[in-house]
């Protein structure tokens, strides 16, 4: 799933999907939203995939990022609970280099 992430009560909302804030990536996104509110910044844009450790969701996410990051205007990008894969990391790095100015 990809889209702007907002906080609604005890859940985050991305598109039509609501995810409870209890741990992991939803907790990180909720904290980023609250920090953004304090700093008067827009809500974060999130890319979420399900992965229980076999790597399938992570690889889908890498693939999506490689195709969709070039042309975006992000200034900061954070990866969270993603299965490490050197080849895919390098492909995402090349995609990030196409963004000007390059995000942190």
């Amino acid at each position: 799933m990809a889209g702007e992430v907002n906080l609604e009560g005890d859940s985050i909302r991305i598109g039509e999907r609501r995810v409870p804030v209890n741990r992991g990536t939803p907790a990180l996104l909720a904290a980023a939203i609250k920090a953004g509110q304090t700093l008067n910044l827009p809500p974060p844009f999130g890319y979420l995939a399900g992965d229980i450790g076999l790597g399938g969701g992570s690889r889908q996410l890498y693939d999506y990022l490689v195709k969709n990051l070039p042309g975006s205007r992000f200034s900061v990008i954070t990866f969270h609970y993603l299965l490490p894969d050197v080849d895919w990391h390098n492909k995402v790095l090349f995609a990030l280099e196409e963004i000007s100015p390059r995000p942190y």
Binding site: R23, G24, T25, D51, I52, G53, L54, G55, G57, S58, H80, Y81, L82, L83, P84
Partner: protein
């Protein structure tokens, strides 16, 4: 064992072996396509491997840390109250499956985990079971 902080680069584990066996061990590992990131002699106290387990007693709660994974249990009920650490995608999944259940009821990380974080959590889980059975 965990690597000493000076040479730690991520989710690493360390294996100690007698120096005289180095060539044989490296050859065997290379043949199995699992070459080590680094081979270093323990020639300084700073390069001593650190104990994989760290224990923190919070009174009612006991936390066992194995490598980068932490497991916390209510000593009275033996219920798992928190799992944290690591960065592999099965960590939130393991937490969802295990938190709120007792050590006896919870599934073993070995059975449902898939990564080095899952392996480290299994070690913490075994250590916790051992300590809670005493």
């Amino acid at each position: 064992m965990g690597p000493p902080p000076e040479i730690r680069s991520g989710c690493d584990l360390v294996i100690e072996f007698p120096l005289i066996e180095e060539l044989n061990i490296l050859r065997t590992l290379r043949e199995m396509n699992v070459s080590p990131l680094q081979v270093v002699p323990v020639n300084s106290p700073l390069l001593q491997p650190v104990d994989l387990f760290q224990i923190k007693d919070f009174g009612r709660y006991l936390m066992v840390r194995a490598a980068n994974m932490k497991l916390t249990v209510d000593k009275k009920t033996q219920k798992i109250v928190n799992i944290s650490g690591g960065g592999c995608p099965d960590v939130p999944y393991l937490a969802r499956e295990m938190v709120g259940r007792s050590l006896a009821e919870a599934p073993s990380p070995r059975d449902i985990g898939h990564t080095l974080c899952g392996y480290a959590l299994q070690l913490a889980y075994e250590e916790m079971k051992h300590r809670c059975s005493q």
